[in-house]
Structure formats: C-alpha cells, structure tokens
C-alpha cells in the first residue's frame, strides 16, 4: 500500500460493489469503554472490525459459518476483491451451490485484528496521537484475533456458529475458537494448519520481517506518517514467503528452468528465469494491497501460536470436553504445514474421544493447495458440512421462494 493510494484504499473498503455474490460489506466499531483485553496484558480500544457476509441468517440463528482468513487474506472471501479486481480468495469453495453454500448458510468473514483492510491494525489512526499506530500498535496473538471475532459474533446476535472454517493461519484461528469457545462452535474445519508455529516457520517469518525492517523507507515503522512505503522490503518478504507456499514439484512443473521472454541468458541480474519474474510480480503486486507493519504484526502473532503451551503443554487439554465435530484437512505436498502436524491435532482430539474426521488430500501444489480448486478437497468439505447440517437439523436444500 502506498501513501497516495490509501484514500483509494479506504474507498475500496467501504464502497459497495454488486458483483452477483450477494455480499454485504460492513464494519462495527467497539467503543473505548469496551476494550479488547489482549494476551500481552495490554488493552486495545476503541477498535473496528470490518466484515463481509453472504446469504441469510435463519430465524434460529443456527446457520452461521465463520470463515477465518490467512496471513495475507482478507474479508473478501467470495466477492470480487475491490482492491485487486480479482475473484475472492475462496470463491471456488464459497458461494451459491458451492461446498460452503451461501444459499443455505450465512457466511461471515472478517478482516482480522491487526489487518489492513478496515479492521484496526498498525496502519489505523491511534486515537491517542491522531497519527497511525505504527509500532505503537500492541503485539497481538491468534487468541486476540479470535476474541475480536467473538465480539463481532456477539454483535451479530449469534450464540453458536454452525461452523468455523479456515486454512493456514485461518486454521489456527479455527483451533483457537474450538479451544476457547467449545459451546459456540458446532463444527470446526482446520485446513493446512498446525497447533503451533514450527521453528522452521518462525525462521521464514523472521527473514520476511528483517527484509521489511532493512528497507530504509520503513522508517522504524513510521513510514505512513512520513509519506513513504517500504516497497522493496515488503516485496522481498513476500517473495521469500511465496516460495514456502509452493512445492519443488510445482516449481518444476510451472516454470522449470524456462527463460522469461528471451532466447538466452542476458548475463545480467535481470529476471532471466520465469520463476524470478513470477516472484518479482508476486512481490510487487502484494505491496499494493498490504501494509508492511501489518505483515510484521500478523507474522508475529503466528509465531507466538502454540495451543499446547496455552494448556499445560498437553494439546489434548485444549479440547477436553469438546462436543464440536472436527474435520482436519492436510495436503501431501504442503511442507510448511505438513500432514504430520495435522496428525498431531487428530491425535489430541482422539485422546479426548472427540468427533474427528481427518483427510490428507493428494496435491503437488504445496501449501497453496488449500486455495486452489482441488475436487477431492471440495468433496470432503461438502460431505462434512452436509453431515453436520443434518446433525444440526438444518434443512438440506435451500427453501425456494413460495415454499412453506
């Protein structure tokens, strides 16, 4: 995000777009009198949560599905993203007639606390100073994001969510929801995720943060007020991270050693290879839609995530007494959140005799597989949601107009 586009950015966040997805875009302000008590011990208030909804909440308020987005995701899960003009990040999965069917379910997706698309984050104005928070924003956790979401769910008057679904960092929020609010989550679908952030993942995040902070335009986090943006640092962070979202096979298949629009090497440091050009493109487009400080804060929240540590170092304790139905999903080529880590979640759930399904989906797309059109994955989600809806007593088919 550049300083001069931030106005355009704000407009994109609040202005309605009719793209046929039936999206309702909204935000809710929580007053300073009801601050968020953070895991760090400090308080944050007032704060704002921006969110999108799709579909209709039924009279019993029993058909709500909360979708939790990943590190660089946003609330535009199933509508055209107003910032990029591209389809929502899970529009294959969420929509009318899709596995998460907005004809039947009331789907909510909020921008996380610490994000930069309308919810309070480091780019927001600090009411105490009248300037953007920058590094004065408190360090937050996955638990804090979930607390903020639970305020939103309270605000919407929903006692129990039919399902909480998310991949990657979204999956961490799903696990945290299931652990903190056992009675508020009927079904949970943590996808391509883990109950803790591995040392390797922390290491990659640190590389990204150092790239941002090494950019002279970062200005110790004060760049927005100084009218600059650490574009290069954030782009490098994104490039490095993007490699971890793919797999070696996927890189081979997609790019090989192919050259980018040239017959031979140029004997320079230009982007000779397609893979270089692709990463540079990923880096530069990311900068236009994401705040560098948000990136620092959110990656930190992920690093701090360790659900077992929150429960006496025994992961099973996090789920003791749960009646939530779980469906854990991993992908074979995901080396960032490998199947092994999903299996640990499953073992913990088995240890408390929880109701759990676990599937590993064959895919060579790496971690990114959870964002792609993977038929086996979709069939799993559809089947699981379907069976949970039956258990919950929700109607199988949408009630057509005129039906009793």
């Amino acid at each position: 995000m550049t300083a001069d586009t931030s106005e355009e950015f704000k407009k994109a966040v609040v202005s309605p777009v009719d793209d046929g997805s039936g999206v309702v875009r909204a935000s809710v302000d929580f007053p300073a009198s009801e601050p968020l008590k953070l895991d760090s011990g400090s308080e944050l208030g007032p704060f704002t949560i921006a969110y999108n909804t799709y579909g209709t909440l039924n009279a019993a308020k029993s058909n709500a599905i909360l979708i939790c987005h990943a590190l660089t995701g946003d609330q535009h899960v199933a509508n055209i993203n107003p910032l990029t003009g591209k389809p929502g990040w899970w529009s294959h999965l969420v929509g009318p007639g899709k596995p998460i069917d907005t004809d039947r379910f009331f789907v909510i997706c909020s921008n996380i606390l610490g994000g930069c698309l309308g919810s309070t984050g480091p780019a927001s104005i600090n009411p105490a100073t009248g300037k953007s928070f920058g590094l004065n924003f408190p360090v937050i956790t996955i638990g804090d994001m979930v607390e903020a979401q639970s305020r939103l769910i309270d605000h919407l008057g929903i006692d129990q969510l039919f399902a909480v679904i998310g991949g990657s960092m979204g999956g961490m929020q799903v696990l945290e929801w299931a652990a903190r609010y056992k009675d508020r989550v009927f079904a949970a679908v943590p996808i391509a995720t883990a109950a803790w952030h591995s040392p390797q993942n922390i290491a990659f995040h640190e590389v990204g943060r150092q790239a941002v902070m090494a950019d002279p335009e970062w200005k110790r986090g004060d760049y927005l007020d100084q009218g600059v943006v650490p574009r290069n640092g954030l782009a490098v962070a994104r490039m490095a991270a993007h490699i971890t979202y793919l797999s070696e096979d996927a890189l081979h298949e997609k790019f090989g050693r192919n050259l980018q629009n040239r017959a031979d090497r140029t004997f320079s440091f230009d982007a000779d290879f397609q893979v270089e050009s692709y990463l540079r493109h990923q880096g530069s487009t990311f900068v236009d839609r994401f705040d560098a400080n948000s990136y620092l804060y959110i990656t930190r929240a992920m690093d701090y995530f360790d659900l077992a540590a929150e429960h006496g170092d025994v992961l099973a304790n996090a789920f003791r007494g749960t009646r939530t139905r779980f469906c854990v999903v991993s992908f074979t080529s995901d080396w960032l959140y490998p199947t092994r880590e999903s299996r640990e979640i499953v073992q913990a759930l088995n240890a408390v005799a929880a109701n759990v399904s676990f599937v590993e989906i064959e895919s060579n797309a790496g971690h990114d597989a959870f964002l792609l059109d993977e038929p086996e994955f979709f069939a799993t989600v559809r089947g699981f949601i379907e069976s949970c809806a039956t258990r919950r007593g929700l109607p199988l088919a949408p009630i057509a107009d005129g039906d009793a």
């Binding site: 073992q347 005799a353 759990v356 399904s357 089947g383």
Partner: protein, 222 residues
C-alpha cells in the same frame, strides 16, 4: 415389532449386497451407542449402523482414498493405522470397538485386540476362518496356499499376514482375558452356525466368524 423391522431392513440391505458379517455386527450393537470401526474401508458398516441403529460412529482406515470417500459421504473417519493409532484413544471411549475382517491384516493382532478391548466396553471382531474345510482341503490335496473369495490374493501379495482359525482366535481371547459374549460363524452360503454349540464343527464349516467380546476386568456395563 422393532425386531421385525430390523430384520426387514437387514433383508433389504442384504439384498442390496450388505455383507453377512456386517448384518451380524449390526444385530450385536445396541441402538444409539458410540462405535469405533477400525479398518472401516468404504464406510459401509458405519453407514449401516447409522441407518439401522442410529449409532454415533467413527472410523479409522488405512487407505487415503477410502478415508476421503467416507468423509465425503458424511462419516467421521480418520486416516490411520490400527497397529499405531489406537494407542491414542482413552480407555472405554466407545461402547463398541469393531474390527471387521481386518485383524488378519494387522501387523500385531494381539496388541490390536488388546487395544480394542481397552477402548471399547465391548469389542466385536469378524475374521475369515482359516480352519474352514475348503482351506484345509486345498492345502492337503493341492499343497498350495489356499485362495478363496475371502482370501483372493496369492501369498506373496496378500495383505492378510496373520490368518487364524476360530479355535486360534478363542485361544487369543483367553490369553487376553476376554470373555466371549457371543460368537457366530457363517458357512459359505451365509447361513449362521452358533459357535458355542460345537467349536470343532464350526471351525470346520464356518467360513467367517463374528465374536462379541468383553474384557473380564471391565466393570462398567450399560
């Protein structure tokens, strides 16, 4: 009345191709109970138990494709291995822990059965009987490892590494302090032979057997 309904349902399911051992297991399971089906395959038994006995069922299955198919049809199934993953489950977490035509394919049948008796208040095990006369005759007259409908693979590629006879299985039950509460064998026509009446007879004529077991130390009942 209820029984008649169940029998009718079973007949309908048998006509649709449900396995006789599955129907037997369904008869042994109390309505509304919690069930773990270890080696649940495509989930046919879990589906049958959900439909006919309204059980709260879970499954464990080795094959990824089968697990995914189960979950897609709405069953709670995890990808896992009976030899490894049963250790995670707490004691008496289920009313029944079921192993249908799977024990012969496990690496350590004794440990698996031990776990089954620990996890379930009751264990139900079905297995192909290697003591069946056709198998004995095959070995006696042909001198070759028997291959039958239930054991279709040649010895070198068969997943069934630990085959046993009904008498062998009863011996293992004794060793593990498991009380046999019910035991039924089926002949090749799928007809029922009550095992307790004549063990040797059934060990000769039973093609498959279904046992309902309880650990003698298990005190809680339902």
């Amino acid at each position: 009345m209820l029984n008649n309904n169940i029998i009718r349902q079973h007949q309908a399911l048998a006509d649709q191709g449900a396995r006789v051992d599955h129907l037997m297991i369904a008869e042994m399971v109390a309505p509304g109970s919690r069930v773990l089906d270890v080696g649940c395959g495509d989930g046919d038994l879990l589906q049958l138990l959900a439909a006919s006995k309204a059980v709260d069922g879970r499954g464990v299955e080795l094959s990824r494709e089968k697990v995914n198919a189960c979950v897609a049809r709405g069953l709670s199934v995890i990808q896992g291995n009976a030899d490894v993953d049963l250790d995670d489950y707490p004691d008496q977490a289920f009313d029944y822990a079921i192993l249908s035509l799977t024990i012969q394919a496990t690496l350590r049948p004794k440990e698996v059965l031990q776990n089954l008796l620990r996890i379930g208040r009751r264990a139900i095990v079905s297995f192909p009987n290697f003591g069946h006369w056709k198998i004995r005759a095959d070995l006696l007259f042909n001198g070759r490892m028997p291959m039958t409908k239930n054991l279709p693979e040649p010895w070198y590629s068969s997943p069934d590494s630990h085959l046993c006879t009904i008498r062998d299985f009863v011996e293992l039950c004794d060793l593990l302090d498991a009380k046999v509460e019910e035991a039924v064998a089926f002949n090749t026509a799928g007809r029922r032979l009550p095992i307790k009446r004549s063990m040797r007879f059934n060990n000769l004529f039973g093609e498959k057997a279904v046992f309902k077991l309880r650990h003698r130390a298990a005190t809680r009942d339902f």
